[in-house]
């Protein structure tokens, strides 16, 4: 049985067994793709060869966020940061610990890309070994769960989450405390907690990175939620394309069970909680909560009309709490630091931080976690460093296929749920694609519409076949073969899908079209022609 002292003892043991120098080598998916595993082994070999075993530890850590510059290596104590490290440079890095010459490209922690970030959910990313529960415990892990189980009633937990102002990070921004309260008061013989790690937006990898870098943070958040709403079983739904995240979660669950942090009578209380992983096949729509539930139940992953909401009628008909990975990632920090601390970060109605995947025509790409309310301009120009070749920025796309394009003129918009919605986009799960003056906005709209068309589940008519018609119209416009009447039809279809589609996929599929029409209409109109043309092709 795990007790609070045991946590502290483990943490202490872990800290004392640490060597003088810790070198962090990112072994998450992004850096693995650029050869980080080989580098990791070479670093270990170099330590061995230099006879530095007593003094230096090479730790495989989670994502540091600067994935575009990977593989990334950092030296813990003095904060040196190495970028684009090649395996053969390992000895050089080890030698540099003792002042040896080192030509490996160095990053700068004072760079706004790092300095302007604020790490709550990603605070352990790039710092701890995600495959060892001891490292998580050494940085205070599972103390929040202990605190909750021994010193707070479920109602108090819910109250804390409510007061923190946390809102769902899965896209819609629904107040988390309110959702927990609904599940808690819904009658049911059993209740479930589901963590939504489906992350289907093209280009998004925030949740993958969190799961790979700090799996116990999510397990702890889910456990606290389960206690608050009265659930005894949790499911982690992760897409099959995330094998590393799944492997690390499996490891984390096994370790947590071994230390009685999952299972029965956790921390010697009557609280029991078990977590299982469910691997999705990677359909975008399975991120929609009712489709996800159907998928866990073993049925075809298709949404159903809401109400009833999962909070009342979820998995196998029981009240079910479903939150996003990043949402769960905020829970333990809120409990540890207090609701008021959290509520002090961000804007009036959007509290805390948000993780974004900054990509596209921008110098510094990668994962960033910034306080809500930072302006798009600050993110793109300061953290992102503008476009790589100095071409003027045209806009950003946020929210993926459900989001919209925001023109440069509106870059002083703060990133918070309401402001982004006002300018015709959404916060979404955190994709942020920077576009420069050369970007063709009609093509952007067409790209996202193709995605929605391919990912439509096919259950409801407006989305299933409306997206096909919209995609064809956009292709026709793009090819310079459409008339003003075609553009009008496209706009009517936007309206139809928004108002009549069954789930969020179809309802928000028009967003990229409508937002580009709103700000870049002339790009569409330039392509229109007066008369209908039929190609006498294929002769």
């Amino acid at each position: 049985m795990m007790e609070f002292q045991d946590l502290q003892i483990m943490a202490e043991q872990e800290r004392t067994r640490r060597k003088a120098i810790r070198i962090h080598c990112c072994t998450s998916s992004g850096c693995q793709a650029s050869g980080a595993l080989e580098l990791f082994h070479q670093l270990q070999a170099a330590v061995e060869a230099a006879g530095q075993n007593e003094r230096v530890d090479i730790i495989g850590v989670g994502c540091m966020g600067f994935c575009g510059q990977g593989p990334m290596v950092s030296v813990e104590a003095d904060g040196v940061l190495f970028e684009h490290v090649r395996p053969e440079q390992a000895p050089e890095i080890i030698a540099s610990l003792d002042g040896g010459p080192c030509n490996v490209k160095q990053g700068d922690h004072a760079h706004p890309f790092f300095a302007r970030q604020m790490h709550i959910v990603r605070r352990n990313g790039g710092v701890i070994d995600p495959e060892r529960i001891e490292e998580y415990i050494a940085v205070g892990g599972y103390q929040a769960l202990y605190h909750v189980l021994h010193e707070m009633s479920p109602a108090e937990v819910i109250d804390a989450i409510t007061r923190s102002g946390l809102r769902g990070r899965g896209g819609a921004g629904y107040p988390t405390g309110l959702k927990w309260a609904t599940v808690a008061k819904s009658p049911g013989e059993r209740k479930f907690v589901i963590c939504n790690g489906d992350e289907g937006d093209p280009g998004a990898f925030m949740d993958r990175s969190i799961l790979e870098s700090d799996p116990h943070l999510i397990l702890e958040g889910m456990s606290i939620a389960a206690y608050a709403v009265g659930a005894d079983q949790g499911y982690l739904y992760v897409r099959g394309e995330y094998p590393l995240a799944i492997a690390r979660l499996q490891k984390a669950i096994a370790q947590a069970r071994k230390h009685d942090l999952l299972g029965s009578q956790i921390f010697d209380t009557s609280f029991n909680f078990r977590v299982d992983i469910r691997v999705g096949a990677g359909a975008f729509v399975c991120g929609e909560e009712t489709a996800l539930i159907a998928s866990i139940e073993g049925r075809r992953g298709q949404p159903r009309p809401r109400p009833p909401y999962p909070a009342e009628h979820g998995l196998w008909g029981y009240p079910t709490l479903i939150n996003n990975v990043e949402t769960f990632g905020n829970i333990a920090p809120i409990i540890t630091n207090g609701a008021d601390w959290y509520a002090g970060i961000g804007t009036e109605r959007s509290k805390g931080t948000k993780v974004f995947a900054l990509t596209g025509k921008v110098r510094n790409t990668g994962l960033i976690e910034v306080p809500m309310g930072m302006t798009i301009r600050e993110i793109v120009e300061e953290l992102g460093g503008g476009t790589p070749d100095g071409t003027p920025v045209k806009g950003v796309q946020t929210g993926g296929p459900s989001g919209g394009c925001i023109p440069e003129a509106l870059f002083d918009t703060p990133v918070d749920y309401e402001s982004l919605a006002e300018v015709g986009s959404i916060m979404g799960s955190g994709g942020m694609v920077v576009m420069d003056a050369t970007t063709n906005m009609v093509e952007i709209a067409r790209f996202y519409m193709e995605f929605c068309m391919d990912e439509s589940c096919g259950k409801c008519i407006p989305c299933r076949t409306g997206t096909v018609q919209m995609y064809r119209l956009l292709s026709k416009i793009s090819a310079g073969q459409a008339t003003a009447a075609d553009l009008a039809t496209l706009e009517q279809l936007c309206h139809l899908l928004r108002e009549t589609s069954l789930c969020g996929l179809g309802q928000s599929a028009p967003n990229p079209v409508q937002s580009t029409l709103r700000y870049f209409r002339e790009e569409y109109e330039r392509l229109l022609r007066k008369r209908v043309t039929i190609n006498l092709t294929s002769r």
Partner: protein, 177 residues
């Protein structure tokens, strides 16, 4: 009396819609008192005339000749009526659409299911060129009235014509098929 100028056009259809019109028998004689038939497959006029008041179009757009003619029809008619399902939806004429582009259909018809040693017909300027897809006429020109049915029955055609002659909005009861 100043009679209205009526035209009827036969595009990609089976002529059944025209048969339905002819089915109106002696009413056609009454009709002739009000309209002058200026262009029709059953009249001897080679080019589509100017200043037509009302044109009934049977059939879908299936080849380049239809494509050209329908533009003239629109430019020279005050009112265009899509007569029958082929004109309105493509219908039977469009049954070939799922089978692929024109070339592959000709290949299937003339070579694969015809004479394996044969050749694809090609007589430029005489036999019109097939379009890859058969399309309803409103995809090319604005259409004022759609009269569905395969064919629309004589009485329905008559009801529409009577209403139009009387200047009242026609009743389009009845659907496809």
């Amino acid at each position: 009396m100043n009679r209205l100028k009526l035209a009827t056009v036969w595009l990609g259809g089976c002529s059944g819609c025209h048969m339905s019109l002819l089915d109106l028998d002696e009413w056609l004689i009454d009709l002739a008192a009000h309209v002058e038939l200026v262009y029709s497959p059953i009249a001897d006029q080679k080019t589509f005339p100017e200043g037509v008041d009302l044109t009934l179009v049977e059939g879908a757009i299936a080849n380049d000749e239809h494509l050209e003619l329908i533009q003239d029809v629109r430019e020279r008619s005050r009112m265009v009526v899509a007569l029958g399902d082929c004109a309105v939806t493509g219908n039977v004429t469009a049954l070939r659409n799922p089978l692929g582009e024109a070339r592959s259909i000709l290949q299937q018809v003339y070579i694969e299911h015809g004479d394996p040693r044969g050749v694809l017909p090609s007589t430029p300027g005489i036999v019109p060129i097939l379009l890859d897809q058969v399309i309803p006429i409103h995809m090319i020109i604005p259409v004022d009235l759609f009269l569905a049915g395969c064919p629309p029955s004589g009485p329905r055609i008559r009801a529409v014509l009577e209403a139009l002659l009387a200047g009242t909005p026609p009743e389009l009861a009845g659907g496809f098929g």
